[in-house]
């Protein structure tokens, strides 16, 4: 598979997910594109148009509950990252945060991370390839490790910054 097809696949999966298309249907659409360009030798962008435009034709409306379910984890994620950063800076400086011991704020940030992780894992159902039955997107474990790695990176960056500035 060419880099162009790989890039197009990533963009198409992302756009279809954003359009509330079920994982099995995403797998079908992506496989159709890949199979077709393998036959024709065309660039997928040339044959199917920009991924976002092609995906728009498959978009499904979201319910209000579903929109709320996607907004809440984003807010919690931001709050969690903020508490972790403030907690770590407080621990390094040896000062309380928001009038509380810094470790309490750090712990609160880590506790808030749990519902974020659960929500993302529930939403990131892997996309199956109808030709092979294998997943064409990262499984829940990879997503969980990637997200937790990002939180650790934020924590390490804040710790480094606090040490440098204190």
């Amino acid at each position: 598979m060419t880099t162009s097809t790989d890039t197009y696949r990533r963009e198409l999966v992302q756009a279809l997910r954003a359009g509330n298309v079920p994982p099995e249907r995403i797998g079908e659409i992506v496989a159709e594109v890949e199979s077709h360009v393998a036959d024709t030798g065309e660039d997928p962008r040339e044959a199917f148009g920009p991924a976002r435009d092609y995906a728009a034709g498959f978009r499904r409306p979201r319910s209000r509950a579903s929109v709320a379910a996607s907004v809440a984890p984003t807010l919690l994620c931001a709050l969690s990252g903020f508490f972790v950063a403030v907690g770590i800076i407080g621990l390094v400086d040896g000062e309380p945060a928001f009038g509380l011991p810094a470790w309490v704020v750090l712990a609160a940030g880590l506790v808030l991370w749990i519902p974020v992780l659960v929500s993302v894992l529930r939403q990131s159902v892997p996309v199956p390839d109808p030709r092979t039955g294998r997943w064409i997107t990262a499984g829940p474990a990879v997503t969980a490790v990637g997200m937790s790695g990002a939180l650790v990176a934020i924590a390490v960056a804040c710790w480094g910054l606090a040490v440098l500035t204190s």
């Binding site: 659409i29 496989a31 159709e32 594109v33 890949e34 199979s35 077709h36 360009v37 393998a38 036959d39 024709t40 065309e42 997928p44 044959a47 199917f48 148009g49 092609y54 034709g57 109808p130 030709r131 092979t132």
Partner: protein, 104 residues
């Protein structure tokens, strides 16, 4: 062209079980021009959604596998009905149009 595409695609699938690229080639060979994948597959998906065709993935010889489409009995009946209506329409429209080379 866009309006007649679903019917012509259904007619090609009704000829024999086939796949996307072969359908595009068949349409082009019939003089209907090049049909891009981005136009063809949504039409095929719609035909499948309407239960006029069914599809299944088959492994290709060293390739990534192809999605083959087969007409259903309902699809065949729909094609016969729509084709008859199309012929009636084109005959009536042709009766109103000047013949090629006429000075009208």
């Amino acid at each position: 062209m866009r309006a007649t595409l679903p019917l012509t695609v259904l007619a090609v699938v009704a000829e024999e079980e086939t796949y996307g690229y072969a359908i595009a080639q068949r349409l082009q060979a019939a003089g209907l021009g090049a049909v891009k994948g981005g136009t063809l597959y949504p039409v095929l998906n719609r035909l499948e959604q309407d239960e006029l065709v069914t599809s299944s993935w088959r492994e290709g010889a060293g390739g990534p596998g192809r999605k083959f489409f087969t007409v259903t009995p309902h699809g065949r009946a729909h094609l016969a009905e729509r084709a008859a209506a199309w012929h009636t329409f084109t005959e009536r429209a042709a009766g109103l149009l000047p013949s090629v080379g006429s000075p009208r």
